[in-house]
Symmetry: C2
Subunit: 440 residues, 2 copies
């Protein structure tokens, strides 16, 4: 449980790569300043990443009076990463280069009731095939596939232990996926994927402790503490949605009453709407996505019922987030996932007001509450980041070309013996945090 020197080396390797992705091109000296590591440590880690084919030297910059300093950048063509976001209503797959620019996308809608593991795996496999085909040469060397699946996941055994919205219990999802996907697979859940996306590319990057509040059908709070994801002793930390917010309140599928999720998850927000405006045309029975979108449009247009529902939702959310602020004293709280993205600024404004009413002064003063700045699907990006971390861990100090699957990966099909020349194809390329995609 304690951090070993191996953990520290791994964390430092992540941190150096994270800074290079964020700041390319960047010198070793700038990396040492940004990470707080010694120049010698940075030089060693950079050397490893160069050997792995993940970086390139891209020229020199004159330093005042001294020797010109070598500049480093991510070698975008050093490999491809795939992120898979399995949700209750859709499967989305994105293929990224090593700088985490999107090279190709595919999405499939899940039909209501389509929730058997085999059906889900079929959707994933066909979407992965589609992105690999679309990316063409860009997908020649897939270093790994990160897969996010809702609920409680054992990343070591690859078992989806409990997905309440589908009533899944102990589904051997990794094995099922491995039958269809010839790549190392890294399984985890959307909460941790969103959190890792914020840590590498979003509002938590380079910040102190952060809480990523994930607002979707389900609700969670991913914890990025001390620069790393807090997983807890059995990798289930962040299950904030089942915190009692109202004693003896609304029934929850977890068996308890009054859970946060029953008030601020998408179905809970639909209930809030039903209570405020039983006849509101905003309500699309049976369709969470359409209802949340209608609510967002209504709130933007000043529809009184929509404004009231957003405020009510923010009131519940604010009480819950204030408790997180008091307990964890984070530097930043990020509102993430599709419900937060849809309700946007009006929700953020009301949440800030509600948190200010509930939180203690000292932690409140230290905390900023923001909407996730990660563009596109943060779950896909985070899942791909798990694949990137997995490739770094698996490769260790060996070159990527000889990489085998990591400890947490299934045995993969052998990589193609003669890798196709990488020819980046921009298909819906997404700039991350305002960077344009440096594909060539």
């Amino acid at each position: 449980m304690k951090r070993t020197s191996r953990d520290i080396r791994t964390a430092n390797r992540y941190e150096v790569l994270r800074q290079i992705i964020a700041k390319s091109p960047v010198s070793r000296q700038e990396l040492a300043t940004a990470t707080g590591l010694s120049l010698a440590t940075v030089a060693t880690l950079v050397g490893e990443l160069l050997d792995l084919g993940m970086l390139t030297e891209v020229g020199f910059e004159d330093s005042a009076g001294g020797r010109p300093r070598g500049l480093l950048a991510v070698d975008a063509s050093g490999g491809a990463l795939i992120g898979v976001d399995i949700a209750e209503t859709y499967v989305r797959v994105e293929l990224f280069d090593l700088a985490l620019n999107v090279l190709a996308r595919a999405a499939e809608d899940m039909r209501p009731g389509e929730s058997r593991p085999e059906q889900v795996v079929e959707r994933v496999a066909s979407a992965v095939e589609a992105v690999v085909a679309r990316a063409g040469g860009g997908a020649a060397r897939v270093l790994g596939v990160g897969v996010s699946v809702p609920g409680q996941v054992d990343r070591d055994t690859g078992i989806a232990e409990y997905a309440p919205n589908w009533d899944w219990h102990d589904v051997p999802l990794l094995d099922l996926l491995a039958e269809r996907l010839p790549h190392p697979i890294h399984l985890d859940n959307p909460l941790r994927a969103c959190t890792v996306a914020e840590l590498w590319f979003g509002a938590a990057r380079g910040r102190g402790d952060a809480v990523v509040v994930n607002l979707g059908t389900g609700v969670g709070a991913g914890l990025a503490l001390g620069g790393g994801l807090h997983r807890g002793v059995s990798n289930s930390a962040g299950e904030w949605g089942h915190t009692t917010l109202v004693l003896n309140g609304r029934p929850c599928h977890c068996g308890n009453h009054g859970c946060v999720e029953t008030y601020v998850g998408a179905p809970g927000i639909m209930l809030n709407l039903r209570e405020s405006g039983p006849d509101s045309p905003l309500l699309r029975p049976g369709d969470q996505t359409a209802t949340i979108e209608a609510l967002a449009r209504g709130a933007a247009a000043g529809d009184p019922v929509a404004v009231e529902v957003v405020r009510d939702t923010a009131r519940y959310l604010g009480a819950g987030i204030a408790a997180l602020v008091n307990l964890l004293n984070p530097e930043v709280v990020v509102l993430s996932s599709w419900v937060a993205a849809a309700l946007g600024e009006p929700l953020l404004r009301d949440v800030r007001d509600a948190v200010a009413r509930h939180a203690l002064q000292r932690p409140l003063a230290a905390t900023e509450i923001v909407l996730s700045p990660v563009p596109g699907d943060p779950v896909c990006l985070g899942a791909a980041t798990f694949a990137l971390e997995g490739a770094l861990d698996a490769a260790g100090l060996r070159p990527v070309n000889g990489a085998t699957a990591g400890r947490r990966s299934v045995p993969a099909e052998p990589l193609p013996a003669e890798p196709v020349t990488v020819r980046p194809v921009t298909v819906g390329s997404t700039p991350v945090e305002g960077r344009t995609a440096p594909l060539s």
Copy 2:
């Protein structure tokens, strides 16, 4: 915010000393195994601690076939540490040797209404003088005084920012104490003191993530994550008592309603008792301590009202602790402080039942809930541990004899130029975790 190599060295130095205190006499090899550090790192850190006068070599043990291995123990006479527990109703002071055995104790009761900072400081100063006098030669070289004060504390500036039960706002407590105490002073709050006591000497030692639930007049949840105290970005993490448990519930002095503290803090438990048995002879109006003690005796004797009140309190507590278990996925939850100590096993049993009803299966299965095993006053012990950590930080690599006050300490009076020979005096010596006090 990120862990620097300096932080890691500090954490490793703590961990090695912690293991030596726990396992004396112990070899460097055993320390390497227990800490997960390399033998070379352990040897370096042990060398520093030997130079500081904190350790002694106590002989050799034969290893099978190899060279005899040197055994290390804490040099109990290497200095004294003082822990001060300022509570709403009392001031307790304990003087410890370097193995954290109690050499002397003093306690003063606070009269109702006696809550001005000058009055509190006067109590602290006279109790510190009393323990120094009682410990005689054992107090010759006081390395530091750790002071725990309720509420929100800025340990860097030494300001007690907010103590709700006394209505203190921005009291410059460190400055006031420094006028009376000629030692380096380390200010913090009872929550963090209890947590550090568990981390060094109690149920969190050598464990993964731990939550220390502090049940007194106020209520908090200290977080020991990854082997260290989680302080948050402005040192206020752990303010769990003001989590909303019942929306629109009991009014709280923080200005909100339905906070955890209003149901499970000592005054909240008195309210629970008033609701269950308005005429119960267990109720001692205006006296928290006597009421909680009467309740404990009643529950042990099977008094139906007492049993019901403990169960009700555990029901509230269980809902709150289940949320912590879901969110943080800790290895252990420790019930600490005087209310937990008084209500003991009956409370523990009911809390375990309530948490099992509320928590999710996966984190629940990974979590053990225990009463604090720290004997005596964990707040005094934890406060003295802050002084120990401060001495380690301040001394850095310099010998303790030349130690100056740490960054977070006030300038101290010069240490006596000719230290009195240390002559340990056992006054109410407390074995910690079953160790007998190795005073000579």
